[in-house]
């Protein structure tokens, strides 16, 4: 499960309300992604290209259960790396099929615009621009199964729990 893409860099303590602001409540799922980071980096959501990768510092996704991971995925991002991640946010990444990995110190290995390659099963991370490498926390077999299905809704549909 290898992800490769151009890096967008964010700092520490990026919370769910910045990822998924209140202005994105109560509107259609198609409209929501453009509000991502509208309070801390206005205009950014329009410059994301499909497959780009987000690299962040500590405590990414601190806060609410609102599924910011889904908005990042719908925005076209291919995955993300961070020094650490709120546990509930990490679950939302897996649950919505958005590849994410935690690796202490990873944010120091990347500058914005670098190209990252990482593998969620082995944990291997490489900065293809600088050559720097690191190892993150690999995901479990169960998490990989959910990611491969595309997320929990897709998994439950395959298993017959949801009406199609």
């Amino acid at each position: 499960m290898t992800i490769k893409g151009k890096i967008w860099k964010f700092g520490d303590d990026i919370n769910t309300d910045l990822i998924f602001p209140r202005t994105a409540f109560r509107i259609s799922p198609e409209e929501q992604p453009r509000y991502v980071f509208s309070d801390n980096r206005p205009g950014w959501s329009a410059s994301v290209a499909p497959g780009d990768v987000l690299v962040a510092g500590r405590n990414f996704g601190t806060g609410s259960s609102r599924p910011g991971a889904l908005l990042l995925k719908r925005l076209g991002l291919g995955g993300m790396l961070s020094d650490s991640m709120n546990g509930l946010f990490f679950r939302n990444c897996i649950g919505y099929g958005f590849p994410a990995m935690q690796c202490a110190g990873v944010s120091a290995l990347f500058e914005e615009g670098d190209v990252a390659e990482f593998d969620l099963i082995s944990g291997a991370i490489r900065n293809l621009t600088s050559g720097a490498t690191a190892f993150g926390n690999p995901i479990s077999r169960g998490m990989a199964e959910t990611l491969e299905a595309g997320g929990i809704f897709e998994l439950l549909t395959q298993k017959g729990y949801l009406e199609t």
């Binding site: 409540f25 109560r26 309070d39 806060g63 889904l70 919505y96 479990s140 809704f153």
Partner: protein
């Protein structure tokens, strides 16, 4: 090596003898709770597609975020929740009029009880840890999984223990204890937090709920208090079904044990936009002007908070230029505060009393703030833009500090504002 409370509850629900940090196990969940936001447009989970609930009798549905509905989308979401409980025969449904913030309802209706594992679709679910529960918040995807399957995976986290000594001084509250912990020790990302020590007996159950709720803000996985006589007295009138208290083993392994003398604490207030390592004694930021003050939420909308506020504000007035909003955490608390005269005292002083709802805490309705404004609040989060404009500031504090600030029109230490003993 023994186990912590978190490890014991996880192991019991995974059907194994022991677990250790790093293990990933599948646990049966005792109670599953969801609220109205799961049914509103953009809520990210089409719960109407569920063919069959794993167990409708273990499912709790209630309306708390948009109550009463601030927009047509919320009204339609509430209709979706009602259709869901009808389709699946969910008996534990709390509609408008018998509502409250889900964490308070799980407590006062007796779902939260020792030894249980609770999954609820809200990040402050760790609130139920006050009841010796392993309770964790899930997003909509994990919630639909647990509703269908009755189980979910958990990764066992290392545990940090806080040992409490002494008792809180006058006008210093449990919220100040939390803000002290967050300010001094910072985040607990990918950690459990557990409490113990002789000082625990001086903390009421609502005070423990206030602390456990707020542990979401330091990213704790679970925040668990032990079972004791204080908790048992609360549970006797409420708990649904039998329960099995869980105590940490004497030789449990903690990542760190931190000692706090409650008697040395002062009122605390957070800075804006984040909480970990961003809290300080109130006297450090005293004098900052405010335009709004809020008393309420799943952290501080309980009867002891309203009682304290009423005693402090009796005979005084909310400062000119300040809106003071009071939001009880449940309809039952609202009614009790009404009967005891607290709401009358607060309204007489110029406070606006709202119904029980998540309301302004999540920026939904009933008290949003504009650009350039500052709000001091007992609510749970101070993220940029959360309560309205991204150019506003939210500072978090305990109920005594919020009342003092509402009366003075600026951030104020309650010990400088009210005569000592006023809280007695």
């Amino acid at each position: 090596m023994g186990m912590t409370m978190s490890e014991k509850i996880i192991a019991a629900h995974a059907g194994v003898n022991r677990v250790k940090p790093g293990d990933i196990v599948t646990c049966d969940v005792d109670w599953i709770g969801i609220h109205d936001m799961f049914f509103t447009v953009g809520g990210q989970g089409d719960f109407s597609k569920i063919k069959k609930l794993h167990d409708p009798d273990k499912t709790v549905v209630l309306l708390d975020h948009g109550v009463p509905s601030p927009t047509p989308a919320d009204a339609e979401g509430a209709c979706g929740a009602r259709a869901f409980v009808k389709k699946h025969g969910v008996k534990n449904f709390f509609d408008v009029g018998n509502h409250g913030v889900i964490h308070q309802k799980l407590a006062e209706e007796g779902f939260a009880a020792p030894g249980r594992m609770i999954a609820c679709g809200d990040s402050h679910t760790c609130a139920a840890g006050a009841f010796n529960c392993a309770a964790g918040g899930f997003g909509p995807a994990d919630m639909i999984y647990v509703l269908c399957v009755g189980q979910n995976w958990y990764q066992v986290a290392p545990t940090v223990k806080y040992e409490l000594y002494g008792a809180l001084p006058d006008l210093v509250t449990a919220k100040d204890l939390f803000l002290h912990i967050a300010g001094v020790f910072g985040e607990a990302t990918n950690r459990n937090v557990e409490f113990g020590g002789p000082g625990l007996s001086s903390l009421s159950v609502p005070s423990r709920q206030s602390v456990a709720t707020m542990c979401a803000e330091i990213n704790a996985e679970f925040a668990i208090f032990p079972h004791d006589d204080v908790l048992e007295a609360y549970l006797r009138a409420r708990a649904r079904g039998a329960y099995e208290p869980v105590a940490a083993d004497a030789d449990a392994a903690y990542e760190e044990v931190r000692r706090i003398d409650l008697s040395e604490l002062a009122p605390y207030v957070s800075g804006p936009h984040s909480i970990p390592n961003n809290c300080a004694p109130v006297r450090a930021s005293a004098g900052l002007p405010i335009q709004q003050a809020i008393l309420g939420s799943c952290s501080n909308g309980r009867i002891e908070d309203l009682a304290l506020a009423a005693r402090l504000i009796k005979g005084k007035k909310v400062a000119n230029g300040v809106r003071f909003l009071v939001t009880p955490a449940s309809q039952a608390i609202y009614l009790e505060a009404l009967r005891k005269g607290y709401l009358e005292t607060l309204a007489e002083a110029g406070a606006v009393i709202t119904n029980a709802t998540c309301g302004a805490c999540y920026g939904g309705h009933l008290g949003l703030i504009g650009a350039g404004e500052r709000c001091v609040s007992t609510t749970t989060r101070n993220f940029k833009g959360r309560m309205g404009s991204a150019d506003a500031e939210i500072l978090l504090a305990g109920p005594a500090t919020v009342v003092a600030s509402a009366v003075c029109g600026r951030i104020s230490d309650p010990r400088d504002c009210f005569e000592r003993g006023a809280a007695q």
